[in-house]
């Protein structure tokens, strides 16, 4: 499904990686590992099209993603370093907005269930939540994105407690079981069975 062909990435005049090629098929988990500053986040941004590679290209189902644009966006979920949440809105309002933007139909009940799944039943504005709760609110989107084939997750386990980590691992494993592809970055091995690893 997803193919990276000869990716070169330079940031601030420094080469982060060169000639990186790999493929991610349906039902595959790919973990991108590496030290701080090794280019994990940049690689994920390249894969979702937020960043242009210095050389090489990213293809989705054989087509360069630059040509597909919104068609590709419809087929991916990207959760980056920043939570992508508005401080003034509640977790449910943020999730509803994110779904509308991603073209995912979600009823109030589904949104409530998704938040409950990550252990978040708070109606408080996001600014009153802890860092870990914010991360949970962002990751709740995964519970509503089962039909989206590609998940790109940047440090999905950061700031989470053990219970939340287990729930996110379950969500990821379920997605792979459905035939979806998940590419995620982590410093440490999260213990997801069957995950391929690329070390930057």
């Amino acid at each position: 499904m997803l193919q990276a062909a000869g990716l070169h990435c330079e940031r601030g005049g420094r080469a982060l990686f060169r000639g990186l090629s790999f493929e991610v098929g349906g039902g595959t988990l790919l973990r991108i590992a590496g030290a701080n500053g090794s280019g994990k986040t940049s690689l994920l941004r390249l894969l979702c099209g937020l960043l242009e590679p210095t050389q090489g290209e990213v293809r989705w189902k054989g087509e360069p993603i630059g040509r597909l644009r919104e068609e590709y966006s419809r087929e991916l979920v990207h959760i980056g370093h920043a939570a992508g949440l508005k401080d003034e809105l509640s977790a449910a309002e943020n999730l509803g907005f994110t779904c509308a933007l991603a073209g995912v139909a979600a009823s109030d009940a589904q949104i409530h269930d998704a938040l409950a799944r990550v252990g978040l039943a708070e109606k408080k504005p996001i600014r009153q939540l802890s860092q870990g709760q914010r991360r949970r609110a962002a990751l709740a989107r995964l519970a509503l994105s089962g039909q989206v084939p590609l998940w790109l997750l940047d440090e999905p386990f950061a700031a989470l407690d053990a219970l939340a980590i287990a729930e996110v691992q379950k969500l990821i494993a379920e997605h792979a079981g459905r035939g979806g592809a998940v590419v995620f970055t982590t410093h440490q091995d999260p213990g997801l069975a069957g995950a391929r690893v690329i070390e930057l």
């Binding site: 979702c48 937020l50 990207h78 980056g80 508005k86 309002e93 509308a100 933007l101 991603a102 073209g103």
Partner: protein
């Protein structure tokens, strides 16, 4: 696509309603600037008639500038701008929705309050219609053109000053036509030419600015 655009406008309005001080700030700035001039130049009716339209338009322009810095900055800081860029709606549509929300929050209140402030300049009531119409046509252009500058300066150090230097010269035609429309009407001449040109500017900005804003945002997001 339209559902996504509607969601963006609703979200921005909801966020603004929960952070009312930001909206009130630009409006208060407009009210204060317009009110300072009669106090500074004296109560000569002829002078006030002459400078009124220009002062109201310059204040509207500066007030619109004040709110421009926040157009993409907050979304950039909290990561929602990336989600907007990766949404199912083309970025051109997304930025139109953002500019529309910006106008509803910073342009429309100025249009509505302008006749009240024009009382301080003793402008004849027959000019209020032209003043409101010129602002109604001109302030969306300020939002659209200003958004290009806001996107270009996103994340830069000293972005506020740079934004003003980039955008203020581009606002000049709107200012000349907007203030000119009211002055023409005050002189008993028709304001149709200025208003039609303002409408043409609005159509041109609506057609071209979204693509320029989207291209600038893509560069800033890298």
């Amino acid at each position: 696509m339209l559902a996504a655009a509607r969601a963006i406008v609703c979200r921005d309005l909801l966020v603004a309603m929960r952070r009312r001080s930001d909206v009130a700030l630009a409006l208060l700035f407009f009210v204060i600037v317009v009110s300072l001039f009669p106090l500074g130049v004296g109560a000569d009716p002829a002078l006030l008639h002459a400078i009124g339209p220009g002062v109201i338009w310059v204040a509207a322009l500066l007030s619109s500038m004040l709110a421009l810095g926040r157009l993409f900055e907050a979304d950039h800081a909290d990561g929602t701008l990336e989600q907007l860029a990766l949404g199912v709606a083309p970025l051109g549509v997304v930025v139109v929705a953002k500019a529309a929300a910006h106008w509803l929050l910073s342009g429309l209140p100025l249009v509505l309050i302008a006749p009240l402030l024009a009382l301080q300049y003793d402008l004849p009531p027959m000019l209020y219609g032209v003043l409101v119409l010129s602002l109604l046509l001109g302030t969306p252009v300020l939002s659209l053109v200003g958004a290009i500058g806001a996107a270009l300066t996103l994340g830069l150090r000293g972005a506020g000053v740079l934004l003003a230097l980039l955008v203020l010269p581009l606002f000049v035609p709107v200012l000349v036509l907007g203030a000119g429309a009211v002055e023409m009407a005050a002189a008993g001449l028709g304001a149709e030419a200025q208003l039609l040109l303002l409408a043409a500017l609005l159509v041109a900005a609506a057609a071209l600015a979204p693509w320029a804003i989207a291209a600038a945002l893509r560069i800033s997001l890298e």
